[in-house]
Amino acid sequence: MNAPDTATDLRADMFLLHAPSVYDFRERDDVLFAYLSDSDSVNVTSVYEMYPIGWFSIKQKLAENGFDCRIVNIASLMLMHPELDVEALISRLDAPVIGFDLHWMTQCHGAIELARVVKRIHPEALIVFGGISATYFAAELIEYDAVDVVVQGYDTLEPVTKLVTAAVRGQGSLADIPNLLYKSGDRIENTGFSHKPAANYNNVRNDWSYYQQTPVTPLSSKLIMTLPNTGCAHDCGWCGGSKFAYRNIMGVQKTLVQKDNDLIVEELRTMGEAARKTSIYALQCYSENKKRMHQYLDAVHDFGYRSVYFEQFHLTPADTLKKMGESTEAYIMLSPESHDPRISKAAGRGTFTMEQMEDWIPRAMDAGVKGVMVWFFIGMPYQDRQSVRDTVAYCEHLIKKFAGQPVLPLICPMVPFLDPGCRFFEEPAQHGYRIMHRTLEEHRQAMVEPLWHRRLNYETEWLSRRDLQDVSYEAIARLVTVKGEHGALPDTFCEAVLSTIEETKALLAEMEHALELDGRLPADLRTRVRDYNRKILAYSSDQILPMPRPFGGRWFDDVTVPPALIEQVTRAGAAA
């Protein structure tokens, strides 16, 4: 075997590595990466290969301070190149600081396991964790051998810049950097969680120019995301980004911190001419006021963005609807969570009734909005099996009422976790919840549970964990069938989804039976689990477009590691 070509090694001041949800998920025959176990609401797999948008801000801030920070999406690479030798790749990355995201809890297993790999290969590197979940579990997280530093907070640009300055230039001390927990000899030091800016969140312009040249393919529309704020103006009990959660996790009273809107406009400019072929998912714009929204819409119009998906909490008022319709191809995502106003309100929504929504939809269409998606959620307070069935029946009503129009109801389960730090997690009994996993380690072990219903960290008075699984498959199957019957979805897609659901349920049932009988999975069943996982993790899809889509072309798919290096570190390449 030839010696590796070290000329292709990647060097930086900091690497940000996005781990898969489970490391190493490939060839696992003891965990079923079941269809729907990732809610199927976003175009990712249950490897959760999307990294937080905030990484662009960290990268940009470090660049402005003369540091080279690179994002390597290990999860995405493992999906795109199943034969990738991850340890060989890690050995070819050289940086004094290596960061991991533990923003969403879904990365809790993979991020720490991958950090262990990195620590073994690069014992000298400073391993840093950050994100909302890292902040919540900071005291437990820093105890893991592979973790050197935890940076707490929702805006970590200043602490991370100082940390990299200390590590790379030897200027300053970790002790003088706020928001850190770090190891010093045998001790854990805590510098105090004091950096909590009340304004100018992530105060840099994210740069999307790298994405300009990514080709448009038939199944991979170009899509970027904008994040104009952190925290929230609202208080949904199940959400780790809510007002309650931010007061609880971040210790702030002002729970909505906005980014300078001029910077958002400049971010939109960075796509250049490619904006005309690009769509935007406008995250958290439900917390934006009218002035900021309209400035955003002006920019979308001026730069010629093809379409924008707007998350909305209330029914969008007429003047904003009009502006949306005039600015771009606008799609609105509503999420009442339930058709039942009592459940919707208990979930933190309930800002409009279904009747009000049905009256509003034609006005939205008349204003030029191209489509309305209505999301419902499974796992909410007071929600039992019949209530979920009633929600699906309501979805059928919507489809019939707006037949032929782009009005799409969707439903998904709250999986795999109720967010630690949210109201329902912290006060479960008051809201009808039972919490099954409390610590970070319990969540990590849950991620490698064979059956996804046992992975869930919650159940409710109305739906046990097993009920949540069964009711979810029943609801999705029924809704897909209804969509097929009414032409809202091509029947070939319906057949494919229903077939996948049946296959998944059958396999889960066999696994559950085997585990109850013997406490283990027999060899032939493990082979089928592995074959199923290979098949389901060969593509991404979501409920909006339930068609298998190849990896690559999404904004978070890795573009840092060059093809030559990938070739060298795949098992096939290494053997050549």
Binding site: T217, P218, L219, K277, P490, D491, T492, I544, L545, P548
Partner: protein, 76 residues
Amino acid sequence: MLAFIRDSFLAGDPDGELEPDTPLLELGILNSLNTATLVAHVRKEYGLTVPLSDVSAATFRSVATITDMLHARLAA
């Protein structure tokens, strides 16, 4: 195929702008949702299942390239 795309994605194409070699992806006539609809139509109309490997920028560049691919599949 031209008729289907005109009716389904171009509101009938009243100005008659769609030609066999019109660049569908370039002009945004085909996006992921429209492609999925087209693939479903092919299955229903011609009984052909288009494998994921055939759904590429090259084969779906224009109506002409799509029909070339379908002819090849039918002949196989």
